[in-house]
């Protein structure tokens, strides 16, 4: 008999007992929501919009007629050509990719890369593993940068006064600027550039200053990703910057810092943090993270203790910590008025001090915080013995550039005759107290060097085409100072030139060739045989030993601080925190569709930058979703309409300027801090980036770019649709992400087996229950798992199972304990697998195409109404815990999708892959219906043929916006899918097959056909900065993946369905401090799980009460 599994039926208590929210829409229980629950794809995603039946038939008749014409015209194959090179090209073997070491420059911290090129065409970026601190990891922005190279909206021709000019004219223009400036020793000449770490540019700039002493060299970046040097000056009297060593830190206090993303060198920090976080056996140590923040960052989501506090109160907070850890000084005065539970501060300080003796504590402050906060934090770190252990200080070259304020003053004085704007985009991203358009009018000649004809270029008299970094010769430094090369992968597609050429030409250098310039710089630094060392530099992708020098620092006597009284925040005096976006950065990547469509890791909103407001503020503003009352009176004020978030639009006024934008209620924010992500609202970014989101730069002032107080919000009657990809944000007490506290794990390493149906099910395999299996020694588990991978007998099922007789059996393990949810895997997968973008409208309908998604769940432990005096929890949590889980196709051994496919388009292969034959697929979408993980994606349109605003026009739509240029980014090893075809994660089957083929070629006439472990890395695995993903052969019990799966935290998602997913997860651990007032003896999602599944075991009230009291303690603050 076919075994039939029922999902656990709802208990009576569930049906009649207290209910809990899981999304804003469900809370209001609208009809629309109920309808959506019953559907597979969201409504609209599987129906045509605005077309009725009659119209449909008319259209179809017309298209059949057209089809007939097409048939008569003949369907024979067209003549194809093979075009070999005229002259053989060194190293190039057609069909095989080449890899070159290079780097992506970004402000002061370049990221070393290996660029994959196919016949001279870069298609994919990987991290350069030779650079140890990053270990071959990259982030979403680096992954997406290759798309920018082929952006059809990039500027293609240089212009002077609006007329196109040749590159020779550009050279003449630059030479003339230099010659003219020489007479007045540079007076009247000004430069405005972005930050750069390039040693060659630094050399050119210093030459420039020597040759043109009267010229102004200004640098401007709208966002800060390095701590202010003034802080180090104040604390140590030296120009140094900190390099954190998270791997050595056991106790970490993060003060408003997003060190996973918005600090220069964050890749290293994330990687090192994961090293301290990873626990492979019960005796392993695990770090503990305290996060204090106003916004909700990924750091906050990983925190063991998280405190919501306004950014403007961070000074008082660090002072309060300094008072406890350093002592003396005027810290107590500075901390006055801080409304944080003293117990929290005491216990946190005590914990930091306890680890201080071993030098294992660390305090990190966000770069946007003012200098004084950093200075105090440095002193705390000194007191904790962190310096030299968990934090190194390196000497950095002094920054002698003028700032934007000084440049503006010079221009207003009328002293600037020629302004050269190198990169950046000041017309868009200058703070609101500057009017760049007005400034530019006072300068007779403005030359803009830029990659796009953007807001700034539109104001400039001359525009010079910039080369992409993948087209340029250059050099740069990583965050720790290591010099890395920037090599061209392809000749400039549109005659772009590099910044180095612009400067060299204005300087009148003998050679303006950037290769020569870089060669001279590097060989001078490297010494030895010039050509040899330069070649080595290019080969390694870095100059060994060129990192900034580590220096000893000793604290100066603390100078007294003037205590500023804390600003009392309220609904009428809000704090505005400007964050730089996790995707488009400061707006420079706004025209990158991959990044725009990637959902924000926390809010899950794509294609927008809504203002984030806390649940409490939302309530006070009257924009919280309405619950019972409205439903009873039948007034449906759904804030989600069929999965589309209908956000209220509000007007924020601060510094006398107002911006209108949608409001999104985000749990976990400081109560009266609103978050404004920068980088959107571009008007001249290109087809993708124009008019996406709002521009918040006008609200900024140059004095304090991180945050500002004194804001007000007025809610308007307008609504705005937000493309939110995860409306559903609770696990509903289910066992999706399985979590435990570290102490529980130490007592019961196999805690994951106590969850769900499996825990109570009879043995499915052999004679072992899940619990018995988890208690076996790891070697035994690895053996059993390896043996099972080839058995076709699946739990006694009568269903015919595929045979697993391949040489390998592929499997994956994802460590939820180290995953920080950074989205790098999402974009890496998109780049590797030719995944299209679909545009905001289609994301709203639920048609996004990402093969891997990051699920983000909130839990506040308040499943049970009992804990709240019987009242029903219909509140959005103010202080939730976050559980993150990447989900791609789980490659089930007994895949439910396969049995329903009518055309055998999705079938198993002999190595355990659930394969997709696109050319067989007829698009019934039965497979997606039957997939319990919802990981299959359907091509509702020809995304690859038409721009996102043209898809509804079908064959009538213009294809001009998808020119050949866009096709160049495609990976030639992966099929580009057409309309009507289902697709999904394949474990990067192209990489598997290539590795197998290479191994077989090597084997030749022998049987060494097994691919060595570690040869194949899936795209998501390769990019992952925290090494959470392990992939390999599970038939080999010694492979890394088998070792990972043999760990006792290993579990299958929805394992009780007996579909045997090949991807399994390692349970998440939290490491809270029992001395803390907000200590929870179980992760909050566990509490929800227990109260749903084991209500009788739940201790009466106490946790809820503790939580409630915590909520009172912290909730009323800020």
């Amino acid at each position: 008999m076919k075994r039939k599994f029922e999902h656990p039926a709802p208990s009576e208590r569930e049906l009649t007992g207290p209910r809990y929210w899981r999304s804003l829409d469900e809370l209001s229980q609208t009809e629309g929501f109920k309808a959506q629950v019953a559907r597979e794809f969201p409504e609209g995603s599987s129906s045509m919009e605005g077309v009725d039946r009659r119209q449909f038939f008319k259209l179809m008749a017309a298209s059949f007629a057209l089809g007939g014409v097409g048939l008569a015209a003949g369907c024979r194959r067209p003549e194809e050509h093979i075009l070999p090179y005229g002259k053989s090209v060194e190293y190039i073997i057609p069909g095989l990719p080449l890899y070159f070491a290079s780097a992506m420059p970004l402000r002061k911290g370049a990221i070393p890369i290996l660029a994959e090129t196919h016949e001279g065409r870069p298609t994919k970026i990987e991290g350069n593993p030779t650079y140890k601190p990053y270990g071959g990891a990259t982030n979403a922005i680096v992954q997406a940068s290759v798309l920018e190279l082929y952006d059809p909206n990039r500027s293609t021709v240089s212009t002077i006064k609006g007329a196109a000019v040749t590159s020779a004219d550009v050279q003449d223009l630059l030479a003339r600027i230099g010659a003219d400036a020489l007479a007045g020793k540079g007076a009247g000449l000004a430069f405005l550039a972005g930050q750069s770490s390039s040693p060659t540019r630094a050399a050119l700039v210093s030459k420039l200053k020597k040759k043109f002493p009267g010229a102004v060299w200004a640098e401007y970046e709208p966002t800060q990703d390095e701590p202010p040097v003034t802080a180090a000056q104040a604390a140590f009297g030296r120009s140094v910057k900190p390099v954190y060593q998270f791997a050595k830190a056991k106790r970490i206090l993060s003060v408003d810092a997003d060190f996973f993303h918005s600090e220069s060198g964050s890749l290293q920090f994330a990687r090192d943090f994961a090293k301290g976080r990873r626990v492979t056996k019960p005796t392993d140590p695990m770090n503990r993270l305290y996060a204090v923040e106003s916004t909700f960052t990924l750091v906050g989501s990983m925190a063991d203790h998280r405190l919501r506090l306004a950014s403007s109160h961070m000074l008082a907070f660090v002072a309060a910590m300094a008072e406890r850890i350093v002592g003396g000084g005027d810290y107590a005065a500075l901390a006055a008025g801080l409304e944080v539970d003293a117990k929290w501060l005491d216990a946190c300080a005590a914990d930091l001090v306890a680890s201080a003796g071993k030098g294992e504590s660390l305090v990190v402050v966000g770069s946007h915080q003012p200098s004084v906060v950093h200075e105090i934090a440095y002193r705390i770190n000194v007191a904790l013995g962190a310096v030299g252990n968990t934090i190194d200080f390196v000497a950095i070259p002094e920054d002698k550039a003028a700032d934007i304020g000084m440049l503006a003053k010079t221009i207003e004085g009328g002293a600037v005759k020629t302004l050269v704007v190198l990169g950046g985009n000041p017309a868009y991203n200058l703070p609101g107290n500057f009017d760049f358009a007005a400034l530019v009018k006072r300068v007779p000649e403005v030359v803009r060097y830029g990659y796009y004809v953007d807001e700034t270029s539109q104001l400039a008299g001359a525009h010079i085409v910039a080369a992409h970094y993948l087209e340029s010769w250059g050099d740069a430094r990583t965050a720790d100072g290591t010099i890395v090369p920037v090599q061209p992968m392809i000749l400039p597609l549109f005659d772009g030139i590099t910044e180095l050429e612009v400067l060299a030409r204005i300087l009148g250098e003998g050679s303006t060739d950037p290769h020569t310039l870089v060669y001279d710089t590097i060989t001078a630094l490297a010494g030895g045989d010039a050509q040899k060392s330069f070649n080595q530099f290019l080969h390694d992708g870095l100059l060994a030993g060129s990192a900034y020098e580590k220096v000893e620092v000793s604290p100066r006597a603390a100078s007294s601080h003037t205590p500023a009284s804390l600003v009392k925040l309220s609904k009428d005096n809000l704090e505005v925190r400007f964050t730089f976006d996790s995707k488009v950065d400061d707006g420079r990547f706004a025209n990158n569709g991959w990044l725009q469509e990637c959902p924000d890791p926390i809010t899950k909103i794509a294609w927008d930058n809504a203002i984030l407001v806390s649940p409490r503020l939302g309530k006070e503003l009257g924009i919280s979703p309405k619950g019972w009352v409205d439903q009873v009176s039948r007034i449906e004020t759904a804030d989600f309409k069929q999965g589309r978030e209908m956000a209220h639009v509000g007007e924020v006024t601060v510094n006398g300027r107002t911006v209108k934008a949608p409001l999104h209620i985000q749990p976990g924010l400081a109560n009266y801090t609103i978050i404004l992500p920068l980088g959107y609202g571009r008007t001249a970014a290109g087809h993708v980036g124009n008019d996406v989101g709002q521009n918040y730069y006008p609200l900024l002032t140059s004095n304090d770019p991180g945050f500002v107080t004194g804001a007000r919000i007025v809610v308007t009657s307008e609504r705005h649709q937000l493309a939110n990809t995860q409306e559903h944000w609770s696990m509903e007490g289910r066992d999706i992400v399985r979590e435990a506290n570290l102490d529980e794990y130490r007592k019961d390493p196999g805690f994951v087996s106590s969850f769900g149906v499996e825990a109570e099910a009879p043995p499915v395999y052999s004679n072992l229950t899940a619990e018995e299996f988890s208690n076996l020694p790891p070697e035994k588990r690895a053996q059993i798992t390896a043996a099972r991978s080839t058995q076709s007998d699946r739990g006694g099922s009568l269903f015919k199972t595929p045979t697993f007789d391949g040489v390998h059996q592929w499997g994956m393990s994802i460590d939820l304990n180290t995953c920080i949810g950074c989205n790098a895997c999402v974009i890496a997968c998109q780049a590797e697998n030719n995944i299209p973008i679909v545009g905001k409208l289609q994301v709203l309908i639920g048609r996004e195409m990402h093969w891997i998604r990051l699920d983000r769940y909130y839990s506040d432990g308040r499943m049970s109404g009992d804990a709240y005096g019987g009242d029903i929890n219909k509140e959005i949590p103010e202080d939730p815990q976050v559980s993150l889980q990447p989900v791609a196709c789980q490659q089930c051994e007994m895949a439910p999708c396969e049995i329903v496919c009518p055309v055998n388009a999705t079938v198993h292969d002999e190595e355990g892959l659930n394969t997709m034959a696109y050319n067989r697929c007829i698009g019934t979408r039965y497979c997606a219906n039957n997939c319990p993980y919802k990981v299959r994606r359907f091509n509702f349109f020809d995304w690859n043929k038409h721009a996102t605003d043209q898809i509804y026009l079908g064959p009538l739509g213009s294809q001009s916006r998808m020119p050949e240029l866009v096709k160049m980014v495609k990976n030639p090893d992966v099929t580009v899918r057409m309309r009507g075809v289902m697709e999904k994660c394949t474990y990067c089957v192209q990489r598997i097959q290539q590795a197998k083929i290479q191994q077989k070629v090597k084997a030749g006439a022998s049987d060494h056909v097994e691919v060595p472990d570690g040869t194949i890395k899936t795209a998501c695995q390769q990019v992952c900065p925290v090494e959470a993903i392990v992939f390999g052969n599970i038939k080999d019990e010694n492979s890394a993946v088998s070792q990972a799966k043999a760990r006792q935290q290993d579990y299958s998602l929805l394992g009780y369905l007996n579909i045997r997913p090949r991807t399994t997860y390692l349970g998440k651990l939290r490491n809270p401090n029992p001395a803390m007032p907000d200590y929870a003896d179980l992760p909050l999602s566990r509490k929800e799980y227990n109260s749903k599944n084991h209500p009788d075991l739940e201790p009466k009230k106490e946790h809820g009460e503790a939580l409630l009291s915590n909520a009172k303690l912290f909730g009323g603050l800020s």
């Binding site: 073997i93 057609p94 095989l96 079938v907 034959a917 099929t975 022998s1006």
Partner: protein, 218 residues
């Protein structure tokens, strides 16, 4: 009954016959057009920009395939030689031949000679030459006796069933990898011995040609 069935019904049997005949004819024509090897282009022998003769170079002169198709052992794609490869010899032999003018021009300018592609696998098929060569599948099984062709034509259907024929019974087609480019090779000890050897190779080298979708479709 004439009330129920009008007179025109009398013609119905004939009409049905004619209709069936037409439909049958169309179906036959369609199948012939789309599903027979003519769709798979067997015999396709387009005119090339340079009338290069494999019979002369590979047959009479005995050049090894890999002299020109030099990357066939390394890459999935068996390269057509660059004009530079041609010029290795033809800067000394037949230096003035008008037939070779496109090659000389290409070598001088760097622009490619537009050879017409004969063996075309659909874009969703990822055939890999190197692995077949390394594991002892001779060129001849897919390309025919190129060394006897003055004008190269497509010799085999190259359909999926053609591929599977070998992937399901590799022992019939596998030989010592050293002999793969010898298109005339016949086992001196006879056909039966060749297959026995094939069976031995399949066993000894752990040859498991993929028969699932992922082997060729990605």
């Amino acid at each position: 009954m004439s009330k129920l069935f009008p007179k025109s019904v009398n013609k119905l049997p004939l009409q049905i016959l004619v209709y069936l005949f037409l439909v049958g004819g169309l179906a036959t024509a369609g199948i012939t057009y789309y599903a027979t090897p003519s769709y798979a282009n067997v015999g396709y022998a387009p005119v090339q920009p340079v009338p290069f003769s494999h019979a002369l170079h590979a047959g009479q002169l005995g050049l090894d395939c890999r002299y020109c198709h030099s990357n066939v052992e390394k890459s999935g794609f068996s390269n057509v030689p660059t004009s530079q490869t041609c010029m290795n010899c033809h800067n000394q032999i037949k230096t003035d031949s008008p037939l070779l003018a496109p090659v000389r021009e290409s070598y001088a300018s760097g622009d490619p000679v537009p050879w017409v592609k004969i063996h075309i696998a659909p874009d969703y098929v990822y055939f890999n030459h190197s692995v077949h060569i390394a594991r002892g599948v001779s060129c001849v099984y897919c390309h025919g006796k190129i060394n006897e062709m003055d004008v190269v034509h497509q010799d085999k259907s190259l359909t999926m069933s053609f591929c599977l024929e070998c992937h399901r019974a590799p022992q019939k087609f596998i030989r010592d990898p050293k002999l793969v480019t010898n298109l005339d090779w016949k086992d001196p000890e006879g056909e039966k011995h060749r297959i026995e050897q094939g069976e031995k190779f399949v066993h000894d080298w752990n040859v498991k040609p993929p028969q699932s979708c992922s082997g060729c479709h990605r």
